[in-house]
């Protein structure tokens, strides 16, 4: 049984197509992350699911019920916003109980639900305070609590951590993951932060221009990006791309020729314009030539603490390589790269799709 099912969803703002024929099925208890650059339509999609925007065409089902034209309150959803959106004139308790009072729950029910939510989120000492007297992290906890008390099957998060500083963000990220493990609700989470996406998601939907580019689990998205956009967007430090051509299973760029033996895909054809994508950790550096290695010239080194990023010039094109932080390579020296071809990606530049 699928918890949320979106069929051929379209949304136009005037002549602008914001969402184009989106179809997604979200399983019960799944954590789906909508990831993309700003303006890709991810928040818009979330607002459509919540019922805060009227769709132009298509249908939305939540728990197998067609809710396309239902009011937000009748959809069985709870929502958490980027700016917290706490009602400033009410106490934390007032914020938590506002929706429940609207729904006509009894006083004892409300008290019980607030008690449970505030225990889970550890906000009991804050109940009598106004939002202005809370820190950013506390406010977001209360905002999550407001979704929690509604006792719904589906949680929608609209960039909930973007307004927090880096340390708090990673803390709350783990907490959201813990919350999901505990509650086992369906969660849809919008973010532009790929770390959040990769760490939290059961599946990630990478979006661009109102279209889902790829919908898959984080490992697949990372290792087998379906097209050039996804490959470039996911991964930090990002994937290096080499321009070249393909003939008979061999990638060629200038004097360089790299046989694509063991490539996970079909690279046997002949194409005049392709890109070979390599992630920094899928390249090994050594100072001696080994069988199958290719020579490169060291450019600069970027130490990042736990490891370093070495920029080298491979046949005149820049490539980044992840190396041990202790290893030092002087600028201008020659090194030999061993490429992990089974983990590489080759893209046809005509279609920008992965081969």
């Amino acid at each position: 049984m699928s918890s949320i099912s979106i069929k051929d969803l379209k949304l136009n703002f005037g002549a602008v197509e914001v969402l184009k024929d989106l179809t997604i099925d979200v399983a019960e208890g799944e954590f789906l992350v909508l990831l993309g650059p700003s303006g890709c339509g991810k928040s818009t999609l979330l607002n459509c699911i919540a019922g805060l925007l009227d769709v132009s065409d298509g249908q939305i089902f939540i728990n197998d019920k067609n809710v396309t034209w239902e009011e937000p309150k009748d959809r069985g959803i709870g929502m958490v916003f980027q700016s917290y959106a706490l009602y400033p004139q009410m106490t934390v308790e007032g914020n938590l109980s506002f929706g429940l009072k609207n729904a006509g729950l009894s006083k004892s029910d409300i008290a019980q639900r607030i008690k449970r939510a505030s225990e889970i989120l550890q906000i009991e000492p804050l109940l009598k305070r106004k939002p202005a007297a809370l820190s950013g992290g506390q406010r977001q906890r209360v905002a999550i609590g407001r979704a929690l008390v509604r006792d719904v099957d589906v949680f929608l998060f609209d960039e909930p951590l973007s307004n927090l500083d880096a340390k708090l963000r990673s803390e709350l990220r783990v907490e959201i993951k813990r919350l999901h493990a505990r509650l086992e609700n369906t969660m849809i989470y919008v973010t532009h932060d790929q770390i959040e996406a990769l760490t939290l998601a059961d599946r990630i939907a990478v979006m661009k221009g109102g279209i889902i580019q790829q919908l898959a689990d984080p490992r697949t998205i990372y290792n087998k990006p379906t097209n050039l956009f996804v490959a470039g967007f996911i991964g930090s430090p990002s994937m290096s791309f080499l321009d070249g051509s393909l003939s008979g299973g061999v990638f060629q760029a200038g004097d360089l020729s790299i046989p694509l033996a063991g490539y996970d895909g079909d690279a046997s054809g002949t194409l005049s314009k392709v890109k070979l994508g390599l992630r920094p950790e899928h390249i090994a550096v050594s100072t001696n030539a080994t069988p199958g290695s290719v020579p490169a010239i060291v450019d600069v080194e970027e130490p990042m603490g736990s490891d370093s990023l070495l920029w080298v010039s491979l046949g005149g094109q820049p490539v980044s390589v992840r190396i041990e932080p202790e290893v030092r390579h002087p600028r201008g020296s020659e090194v030999y790269l061993s490429l992990d071809i089974p983990k590489a990606s080759v893209f046809d530049m005509e279609t920008e799709q992965r081969l």
Binding site: G51, P72, K73, F81, A85, Y87, Q89
Partner: protein
């Protein structure tokens, strides 16, 4: 707090109090202030002088003998035509016009502004444009058509008719004011309330209203001063027994019969201006806050 137990002098270099710059600035300010205060001074001292003293002709001289007789006369005895009840009747007429006009116009305009800002219904932009256009139509153009309109519905010459006119004419500017203020309230708050199951009125009363005190004060001040100071509508749409205070003041001051009682006229004028003055003094701070919050953003 910062610990200021550090040694040595701190902070910017102290300025001389009587620098040439300060003397110039404060000198100008004092001169301008005096220029504006002088008429008020003349009005107040004249209003507490007796007529013999006024006839001496020295308008700036302080009163030799202070009398409140002119104030009493202006309030309760001055004559306009056959009626000799003073300004008091006009005052109560103005109050009876003011209170419903202010309440009704603000109530409607705030809901208008809220709907325009948060519930983007079809044709909202057209509606808003028409409403704003209304703010630029000169009163004189509308004067006579409204007379006919009120006559046809049987409200011409009544207080209710005048109240309706004030409400309508306040609508464009007040709606603009409220719309801009509600637009400045984060949209996510409104979305959160919708997810929480609050409807049109629920969000208006429980979320928006409690956050909008400053803009309500601004609207109230605009309406109170505007309606209180109105002369044109008062004289056109009512009849003598319902004349507001401004019209009655005019009739007292401009009466051609008998001696010109300058002291009574001065007292009457100050009495009439008192209401807006009091409103400003009480709510000045909120007024500034509201203007800053609502009117600037578009």
């Amino acid at each position: 707090m910062v610990d200021i137990a550090l040694s040595g002098p701190r902070g910017p270099k102290p300025r001389k109090r009587f620098s040439r710059r300060n003397i110039f600035i404060y000198g100008t300010l004092i001169v301008v202030a005096l220029y504006y205060l002088l008429p008020l001074y003349v009005m107040i001292i004249t209003s507490v002088k007796g007529m013999p003293e006024i006839r001496l002709g020295n308008v700036f001289a302080p009163p030799v003998e202070i009398t409140f007789e002119p104030w009493v006369k202006a309030w309760s005895e001055a004559c306009t035509g056959l009626n000799c009840e003073g300004l008091s009747r006009g005052f109560w007429n103005s109050v009876r016009i003011l209170i419903p006009s202010v309440i009704v116009s603000i109530a409607i305009a705030s809901v208008n502004g809220y709907a325009l800002a948060n519930w983007r219904f079809k044709g909202a932009d057209v509606f808003f444009t028409i409403l704003i256009f209304g703010a630029f139509v000169p009163y004189q153009v509308m004067l006579y058509p409204i007379v006919i309109l009120l006559r046809e519905v049987g409200l011409y010459g009544s207080l209710t008719g005048l109240i309706i006119v004030h409400t309508i004419f306040g609508m464009p500017i007040l709606t603009l004011l409220f719309r801009n203020y509600f637009t400045s309230i984060p949209e996510e708050l409104f979305k959160a309330a919708r997810v929480d199951g609050a409807g049109f009125w629920g969000i208006y009363f429980r979320i928006m209203l409690p956050m909008s005190l400053p803009i309500f004060v601004v609207a109230m001040i605009l309406q109170v001063t505007g309606i209180w100071n109105d002369f044109l509508f008062g004289v056109v749409y009512t009849k003598p027994e319902y004349y507001p205070m401004t019209v009655q003041l005019n009739n007292i001051v401009n009466s051609v019969q008998g001696v010109k009682e300058y002291n009574v006229n001065m007292a009457a004028t100050i009495l009439t201006g008192l209401v807006p003055l009091v409103v400003y003094f009480i709510s000045g701070k909120l007024f500034v806050r509201g203007i800053a919050a609502g009117a600037v953003k578009g």
